[in-house]
């Protein structure tokens, strides 16, 4: 396995009883990227992340984080990786100041100046007990703790779940601003696809434990198109058109989404003799729905 990737897995598998949650996952996350790890609820995203951080034992396969084995190098990984989980697991009986002080003792690379700056920016008072902070503030504190020692890799597992729109947007902007300045890698999972689109430059899509797609975002967006074909009569069946992700017939119009759009594909569609063909680019959310939720051709 190569160290040009921040995260690399090979045939990683995890089963719970008879159910395979992560199914022979082979994933590569390039260093310096902002990698969006998408999938529906229950696709296996959180399980994958927990496997990477040695919080779960795998059934088979390999996983490496920053070139280190996920199991044997777990302690070193934690020194270089910041992790923000969906459920904040902070010590709610501590104050903000106490929690920061507590965590500082475990990281040699702790940057106190950065911490103070972030704390001021996020408006996290020193003396307030964590259980008295709102969910949004707790999430921000968790992010601060994860970034305080300037990690090489930041792993965010649905960190904005349950937060309101404003807080979510602030959160993401802070993340981008801080990490992107130093060329670090962000790996975050979310099912809020529209937010991901604003910041990610790589996309990986999990579906039923398998990685169904992994590529740069722009490549994904440029390769997927929606075609709206109007016919005079009943629209014909789509035959010989590869990569159809989703299709539906509305009146005399046939609307379908294709992957790997090309002029050759358009020529094939023209052979169906539509009266009119419109080709539309899609937002990532629509692409996502088509890939994991639609009827496949």
């Amino acid at each position: 396995m190569s160290s040009e990737y921040a995260i690399e897995t090979r045939e990683l598998t995890k089963r719970f009883g008879r159910r395979t949650v992560v199914d022979h996952l082979s994933l590569q996350v390039p260093r310096g990227s902002i990698f969006a790890f998408l999938g529906r609820n229950g696709a296996g995203k959180t399980t994958t992340i927990r496997l990477l951080l040695d919080l779960l034992d795998r059934n088979s396969g390999d996983a490496r984080v920053l070139g280190l084995d996920a199991v044997t190098g777990a302690r070193d990984i934690r020194r270089q990786v910041g992790y923000v989980a969906q459920d904040t697991d902070l010590y709610d009986w501590m104050t903000v100041e106490e929690h920061l002080w507590f965590c500082r003792g475990f990281h040699a690379a702790w940057d106190e100046t950065l911490v103070r700056e972030l704390q001021r920016k996020l408006d996290l008072p020193d003396k307030q007990k964590i259980r008295q902070l709102s969910r949004g503030k707790q999430a921000q504190l968790a992010l601060l703790l994860a970034m305080a020692y300037r990690p090489e890799l930041l792993i965010l597992d649905e960190p904005t779940a349950g937060l309101d729109v404003v807080v979510r947007r602030e959160f993401l902007e802070e993340v981008i601003e801080l990490i992107q300045q130093e060329g670090r890698t962000i790996f975050f999972s979310s099912h809020l696809v529209h937010e991901v689109e604003r910041i990610a430059d790589w996309v990986g899509i999990m579906d039923n434990g398998k990685l169904s797609y992994c590529a740069p975002l722009e490549a994904l967006k440029s390769s997927v198109r929606r075609l709206v074909c109007a016919f005079d009569g009943t629209p014909p069946a789509l035959a010989g058109i590869p990569g159809v992700l989703q299709q539906e017939v509305i009146g005399k119009s046939l609307i379908f989404t294709v992957q790997d759009y090309s002029p050759e594909l358009l020529a094939s569609v023209q052979q169906l003799a539509p009266r009119q063909v419109e080709v539309e680019p899609l937002w990532l959310e629509d692409i996502f729905v088509a890939m994991v939720g639609g009827e496949r051709g």
């Binding site: 034992d57 302690r75 070193d76 934690r78 459920d87 697991d89 902070l90 010590y91 507590f102 475990f106």
Partner: protein, 446 residues
């Protein structure tokens, strides 16, 4: 490293300081009370005992809840901090061990003062060892092999263990060691068995943290450690199991005729550990004695006549007892029959068989009444009543699975009357048992 260690200790202290202080208060409080009150007061003052048990159980429960989150949740330190999992868990256990140590010391000291024997220091050591074993074995095992339900399982064992500790420490001497043997609180089981439990638990837990056992292996490990745990909580069961393998030292409680003129005692080497088991019957009036040797240990039942004695004998692991009648005239031993019995039950009979009048006999020497440990149950106070007719001869079970609460026996020509609590009458010769009462009372006697 030191900084990290300091921060972890600080966290434990901040989380559990009130519990640690409460635990530290236990030993001086218990000892102060035990020195102020008499053993009788200690023994009988239920509110205090109840308070101690509830407080200690609550303390252990609460402290475990603090450090082990419920369900599958992991703590912040377990998820985020770059520390050795063993170090973190070790520190968690140190805090818990302090609490367990204090609880054990206080219970041990309390029990020592309550029962008046053995010395308080030894009892406190026993208490500490017991509580630590419970803590490590139960919580560590539960956490290692059953993470999703570990807390519930661990808590249950902690509750059970606390109660069993209180029970054992309160009744240590008779409950750990079998009947008839003096109690040594520092003997065998606490020297090797509990350290084995501790070591096994720590090894299991270390292995788990390093390798994260998969479910089938976890199940096997859990099964094995559960066996160890049961043994730790029930040392008597273990000792009783091993005791059957040990040497049996045979003693014979001497018998004397009603008029004191004939004595039956053990002869030969005493105590005997192997055959022959020799008895000597001496007629003091005539100045004459006879001896007889058996190949199996025997216990005396009674003397139906001046120069005859009824004995029970049992070969090793046999499911019956031999009933013998030994006549001085001619030095003759007659086997009257076999009585179904649990294997090696004779080892429990030597002390109790003839220390009260309920092992008496009919004045004409025909009938013998026995109450033997129940065939169907191992419970100590449950007996089977047997009636033996040495003339017929007939061995008859007349009342199974019953208490022996009667303290006085009267032999009449046609019945045997057992008086005391819940008086009964045994009709002869059929052996029918019925209630007995004085004339004029319900069930009036004749």
């Amino acid at each position: 490293m030191l900084t990290a260690l300091y921060r972890l200790c600080w966290k434990e202290w901040r989380q559990s300081w009130y519990l640690l202080l409460a635990a530290l208060l236990l030993p001086p409080l218990a000892l102060r009370l035990s020195l102020t009150l008499t053993p009788d007061q200690l023994h009988n003052w239920e509110p205090l005992k109840l308070t101690m048990v509830l407080f200690t159980m609550g303390l252990i429960a609460r402290s475990a809840l603090v450090v082990f989150p419920a369900g599958t949740r992991q703590t912040y330190a377990e998820v985020h901090l770059p520390i050795s999992p063993m170090l973190h868990q070790f520190l968690l256990f140190v805090g818990q061990a302090l609490i367990a140590t204090c609880a054990g010391m206080s219970f041990g000291g309390w029990a020592a003062q309550q029962t008046g024997a053995p010395p308080a220091a030894e009892m406190m050591l026993v208490g500490v060892v017991h509580f630590l074993a419970i803590l490590f074995v139960t919580l560590a095992v539960a956490r290692a092999v059953f993470p999703t339900a570990g807390l519930v399982v661990g808590m249950l064992w902690a509750f059970i263990g606390t109660n069993s500790s209180f029970y054992y420490l309160s009744f240590f001497a008779p409950s750990v060691v079998g009947e008839g043997r003096p109690a040594d609180p520092l003997s065998g089981v606490y020297y090797w068995y509990l350290p084995v439990c501790l070591t096994a638990a720590l090894l299991a837990y270390s292995f788990h943290l390093g390798h994260k056992l998969s479910l089938p292996r976890r199940g096997i490990a859990m099964g094995g450690l559960a066996v160890v745990l049961v043994g730790a909580l029930f040392p008597k069961m273990l000792l009783n199991t091993f005791e059957h393998q040990n040497k049996y030292e045979w003693y014979f409680q001497s018998l004397t005729a009603d008029d004191g003129s004939v004595v039956v005692e053990a002869g030969g080497v005493i105590p005997a550990v192997k055959p022959p088991y020799t008895l000597e019957m001496t007629d003091l009036r005539a100045g004459h004695s006879v001896t007889y040797s058996w190949n199996e240990p025997v216990v005396g039942v009674g003397m139906p006549t001046r120069t005859a004695v009824i004995l029970l004998g049992q070969p090793t692991d046999a499911h019956y007892l031999h009933l013998y009648r030994w006549e001085m005239a001619g030095n003759v031993v007659r086997l009257l029959g076999d009585i179904p019995a649990s294997p090696n039950i004779i080892r429990n009979l030597w002390q109790s068989s003839c220390t009260d009048s309920t092992c008496d006999h009919h004045s004409h020497g025909r009938y013998t009444f026995l109450h033997l440990p129940s065939l169907g149950h191992s419970r100590e106070e449950i007996f089977d009543w047997w009636l033996i007719d040495s003339v017929t001869p007939r061995i008859q079970l007349i009342k199974p699975e019953t208490y022996m609460s009667q303290s006085h026996i009267t032999w009449l020509p046609d019945r045997i009357v057992l008086t005391g609590y819940n008086p009964k009458v045994i009709h002869l010769p059929d052996g029918a048992v019925s209630d007995w009462a004085l004339p004029g009372e319900k069930g009036g006697a004749k």
